[in-house]
């Protein structure tokens, strides 16, 4: 079994990729996809730590299931917003949706 550090590095890379996508992408769909990457990076961490540190405790795996559920709900809400956004202004560029500017 490979050492724990491999999985942690993989999770961190996955998170960084997602973060990079969230910060740089203007397409709302891409942002949502990047968020999914970050959530799954967290899942990788959960599962890795559970498997290595508490092999008989199922709580880490349960947390991962929770995260996936929340991610599915988030995608549903996010896609609905994006759908309304594209209908309203024929664009899903997040930088152009700045009505909340103070």
């Amino acid at each position: 079994m490979p050492p724990l550090g491999y999985f942690l590095v993989f999770g961190a890379l996955l998170f960084a990729t997602g973060l990079y996508g969230v910060l740089t992408q203007r397409n709302a769909i891409r942002v949502v996809m990047s968020v999914e990457l970050m959530l799954n990076a967290a899942n990788v961490n959960f599962l890795a730590f559970t498997r290595y540190l508490y092999p008989h405790d199922p709580r880490g795996a349960v947390w991962a299931i929770f995260v996936m559920t929340v991610a599915a709900a988030e995608v549903a809400v996010g896609l609905a917003i994006i759908l309304v956004l594209s209908r309203r202004r024929q664009s899903i560029d997040v930088d152009r949706a700045a009505e909340m500017k103070g």
């Binding site: 973060l19 910060l23 930088d95 949706a97 909340m100 500017k101 103070g102």
Partner: protein, 673 residues
Amino acid sequence: MAELAWVAAALPLLSFVVQVFAPGALRRRGDWIGITAVAASFLVSTGVFLETIAGVHLHVSYPWATFGDRTFQFGFQVDALTGVMLVVVTLVSLMVHVFSLGYMEGDIRYGRYYTILSLFTFSMLGLVLADNFLELFVFWELVGLCSFLLIGHWYEEKANSTAAVKAFLVTRVGDIGMLIGIFLLYSVAETLQYQELWAKLPSLTAGLVDSRTLTAIALLLFAGAVGKSAQFPLHVWLPDAMAGPTPVSALIHAATMVAAGVYLVARAFPLFLSAPASLYWIALVGGFTAFFAATIALVQDDIKKVLAYSTISQLGYMFLGLGSGSLVAGSFHLMTQAFFKALLFLASGSVIHALHTQNLHEMGGLSRRLPVTTWTWIIGALSMAGIPPLAGFWSKDEVLLAAFHSGRPVLFWLGVITALLTAFYITRATWLAFFGEGRSAARARKEAVHPDHPGHRGGEHVHHVHEGDWRFRLPLLVLAFLAATAGLVGSSWFGHPFTRWMEETMAATAPAFHPAELSPSVFVQLVALLAALGGILLGWLVYGARVISREAVIAALRPLYALLKHKYYLDELYAWLFVRTTVAFSWLAGAVDRYVVDGAVNALGWLGAQIGFSAGDFDQTVIDGAVNGVGQGVVAGSHLLRRAQTGYVTTYLWVLLGAMAAGLLAIAIVAIR
């Protein structure tokens, strides 16, 4: 009956109250209520008087006001003097009430007139019933108020209201003296009850009180009498008071109220007797006023002014009698004068009502048209002139007798000369008004220029001059009867019964009323009769037979005539001396008020305004500044902070990332250390 004497005063008060509070309920605006009340009051008074004849006297008193351990009483007392006054006041008042039915008919303030007549009758009766000086003073001022209200009855004319104010103010001069006198009296005697005072007098005169203090008290009280009874030098209000309706002149300004001064001196006679110096002054003022007013009456053209000055003169006689030490002489003349002067005034009222003029030179020849008025007037005139056996003769005789015995021959002869002048001027007035040819043409011309007296119905023409109905005749006849016969009660033919009765009964109420012990004198009676006859003869020679030319006499005595015509220029002197001074002083006071007092007040106000402005500025700058500053600070802060709210999700994420990194860094640093 005597213990019910207060009812006599209460009835007119009741009538007054009813008339004031229920004027709408009275069908004839209160005249019959007033007459009924006075008539009932007259009956009560007569009953009381009959008992005083029998020598009854009583004194009822209740505590009125208590100050610490001092109590002022309110009550009434009945004795001979009160009995006489009660009858005189109620009788004359009743006659005037009846006469006014006709005289005031259709007057604009008919109801008010009768209301005040009731109030006056009440006040006057209260005055004579009062049993102490304080109560007397209260009623004294009340009658003054009624006088004021009735003089100004037709107040639409400025002259009438001015006359009312003048009467009020001039009498007030005397009243102030009287009030001070009462204070002084209380300070030395510690009571104002007549009974207690007379009981204390011997101990007071025995040295407890300085005799000069007693004299001062007496003279101060007399000052009130001088004002009320229109004696020199405060007589100037009475002729002007003739501006009121003529029946009022008869009641208030001839028969009753003006006699209140005489009543006061008579009532306080023991006090005056114990201060003989004051008696001297009373006699002097009275004698001088009698003569002085008679001379003015010689040249008056207004029939009421003649009677007004003759009233002053007759009141002077009363004071002469009192000042000569005879209580009876003064009060006897008061009674007879009340009758014949009320008669003369009512008769003149009848003339004025028929002719609508008061000028003697516009009358004449009225004897054919106004027979009852003429004959009753002549009875009154002869009574006043002093022809026996009419009332005026006996009372004037009593006064002159007292003056004769007082050891002041100048005053006696002054009284005799006054008797001659009195006879002369009343003959003059009689002749000008009732005899000779009618001067109606001149009157008619004048009437065309001058409208009727205000408050009277017009429309009666010269040819329709006629006498009034029973409302005019009845009072005239009743008073004529009394003016003729009332003196007989004091006649020497029957041995002076009035004199003896009054002296005895008054001495019984208080030993301080010394009987005056005057032996009758045929000489005095003869001199008085000769003076009266001489005056009448002289008057007839000038105005009746025209043997002596009036114009020639006037021409020969031009300066004297002018002096008399202008009433010795006293009004002018007072106007110059007092009125002008008062006006100047009030101007000065006004200036002080306007510049000094108002200045101070305004300065204070200005100061307050300035403080207010500063406070306002402080409020607007500092307080509001603080409040607004907070607001502006918030606004400025918000402007600063809104920059952070870019609306770009990316920005927020960057911030989030940065913050997280910083947090991690901090944790890492802490962990390393």
